[in-house]
Point group: C2
Chain length 406, copies 2
């Protein structure tokens, strides 16, 4: 394909039905931000929401705000606001804890729902916390898809209890066929757990329609809920009565304020709650969901594919290998290019205000968030990348030395 032109970028942006969303975010002027898949940008009205929670709800309302400001309802209420973004009926999602903690809860609950089976299947290339948690949950056997070249079909058998996969891979951006994989896993008698961290807010997700059993997802990437925003957890309603998760804290109790000495799980999705929620962080996610309330996910997907394919075309001439699928239906909302000095190139780009990120071992990862990234941005980023590579400015020791956190 031919390299895209500035005129083409501007024409696409002029016709973009989502272009109005850019002004609902506050982004620094000197930055071109392609890391919203790691930490989403600040919605413009979030500071006011935080001020209100801190000064009015906490400062003036004090303990009364648990009732009067609706704090007590936030874990379920924010879950129901996320539900339409992931194709879930109400009452199947709670916002709580971190993705890691929620993985522990749903994996343990899922294993307990398959008592005669002892194998958990995960994927070698998963985001590491998924792998670590499958170690920690400690079923009798853990198989890693991708370790020995086996396909999922070859790994599934009558002993498989649970399969955990990422809907979109954090590193490559590869998108799984949720419907087909879920059906295949369930046909083997196992339960399917999806990690939605890199798909929620990036593309339409259809948990109910695909018949997913459980899912977890992240509040601080495409959803723009703020640094370390609370995560969420989905459990299909058909599992609620039988599901038992191990982190049996008082917020998941049927009557938290009865102060009964025995644990009795709440009816429905509430039984997946554990402790008191970190409400200032909840306010950040609450504000972000105001933006999502008026977003059409089909438009997000269309623009996302337009942005990522535009970037692939714009960087084609650089001759860099990519681990990201070029076929639209297999790609999330990021493009990962490879370079032997990937770390230094990313640092050199950041120094110019073009923020993507590095992932081991040789991946330069660029995330395209349709609500606040334009095709003109994509072209600017591609040109900056070409400049850095051609000028070899990335060889500067400022960029090659590895920091403590990358």
């Amino acid at each position: 394909m031919s390299a895209p032109t500035r005129e083409e970028a501007l024409a696409l942006d002029a016709a973009d039905p989502l272009r109005g969303f850019r002004e609902r975010f506050t982004l620094p002027k000197d930055v071109l931000y392609l890391d919203g898949n790691s930490l989403g940008a600040l919605p413009a009205h979030t500071p006011e929401r935080l001020r209100r929670m801190v000064e009015e709800e906490w400062g003036n309302g004090l303990i009364r705000s648990w009732n009067e400001a609706g704090w007590y309802d936030l874990p379920r209420g924010l879950g129901d606001r996320i539900a339409p973004l992931v194709g879930s009926a109400p009452g199947q999602i709670v916002v709580c804890d971190s993705t890691s903690v929620n993985l522990f809860k749903v994996l343990t609950a899922a294993l307990r729902l398959r008592p005669g089976r002892s194998t958990l299947v995960s994927e070698l290339g998963s985001f590491p916390t998924d792998l670590y948690l499958t170690e920690g949950v400690a079923p009798a056997w853990r198989l890693l898809l991708g370790r020995d070249g086996d396909t999922l079909d070859e790994l599934l058998d009558a002993d498989t209890a649970v399969v955990l996969l990422s809907h979109v891979d954090y590193r490559t951006g590869r998108l799984q066929d949720m419907a087909a994989v879920t059906a295949k896993v369930q046909a083997s008698g196992a339960l399917m757990v999806w990690d939605l961290c890199h798909s929620v807010g990036a593309l339409p997700v259809e948990l109910d329609a695909c018949g997913a059993d459980f899912a977890v997802g992240c509040g601080y990437k495409y959803l723009n809920g703020g640094p370390g925003a609370p995560a969420f957890l989905y459990a299909a309603a058909r599992h609620h009565d039988a599901a038992r998760q191990p982190l049996t804290g008082w917020f998941g109790h049927a009557e938290p304020f009865a102060m009964s000495p025995e644990y009795a799980p709440a009816a429905g999705i509430g039984r997946f709650l554990t402790g008191t929620p970190p409400l200032l962080s909840f306010a950040g996610l609450d504000a972000a969901l105001d933006v999502w309330a008026s977003v059409d996910m089909a438009l997000v997907r269309a623009k996302s594919l337009s942005l990522t394919s535009f970037f692939l075309r714009a960087t084609d001439a650089l001759g860099l290998p990519t681990v990201t699928p070029r076929v639209d239906s297999e790609r999330g909302s990021q493009v990962s290019l490879q370079h032997e000095s990937a770390y230094a190139v990313v640092q050199a780009l950041i120094a110019r205000g073009v923020i993507g990120d590095f992932r081991e071992r040789d991946v330069m990862r660029f995330g395209f968030t349709p609500l606040y990234v334009s095709h003109a941005d994509v072209l600017d980023a591609a040109e900056a990348l070409r400049d850095v590579l051609e000028s070899k400015s990335y060889l500067d020791p400022r960029f090659t030395q590895r920091g403590a956190v990358t």
Copy 2:
């Protein structure tokens, strides 16, 4: 003892070395707040700290703030700021998750450190989440101190792996002798886990000096970290190398950004971390700890005992039974009075701006936070309580009808 007078209250307040701290909090003018043991008040500079994290660190810094604003160091850094308040050397506390989740981590880690033993001892009157978590951790046996009248001495034997107790009871305000109990438990070969939710920030705690093994505590009560503020977790350094907690997320990994597929716990206290921390809530606790940096806990304890004994004297004539010890050395920083219509009386007081709380079944709980409560406040609260009881205004249906959340 004779009823205290207004003159006595004013004289005590005039001589109070902590009186200057009141202006470091923002409290509504029409409220007398005696529920800081449930949700602490708003430090006056917290809104600015939140604004800075939201607008500058998140909005402008974006992903760069993990390094440049020190986000990555906050779980350990805030832990080290809490350390002097609980008598811990640096490097033994992390701030993370909720108290419930942290209880799961330390109880499981403690049980794994005593593999030949299978009994966990908890206390029937504990805050329920402690009981529910000891159910969830599921050792072979769980004994409940207080169920059959047995003393701790009678329950401890060669099969006891772990004992979990509250330093100060949430309902009665009874303070345990941490040194004596820890020594007794450890003499039996078991490990001692302390729940500090109602003692941290209320009185001096000496974890290291008492030889405690593990502890958890709350950020949103006496510490004033904000609604649902992150909790903390203490593990004595001698246990770090051998301790294995089950929530093995990427933040507790030795090299979180190496993206290694195998879990390897971080050296030291960092292995107790799990997922990405909810940073807006961390900012609230960070701001609160600025206040604590200049607080002398011995002065806090002296004023706390002065306030609670003053309240006991001021309410003596009402003839209400109390579950709170009258002996100073056995009392935390609250007074719990009993009344058959406790719920309604508390509601009637709240309607007058005197905020305490109700706890099942008949307890009116009044918390005295030495940084922002005065002896004059105590007298005002006692007079309001007398008015409500004598006028029987609490019999109004507005007050007797139970709300969804109490």
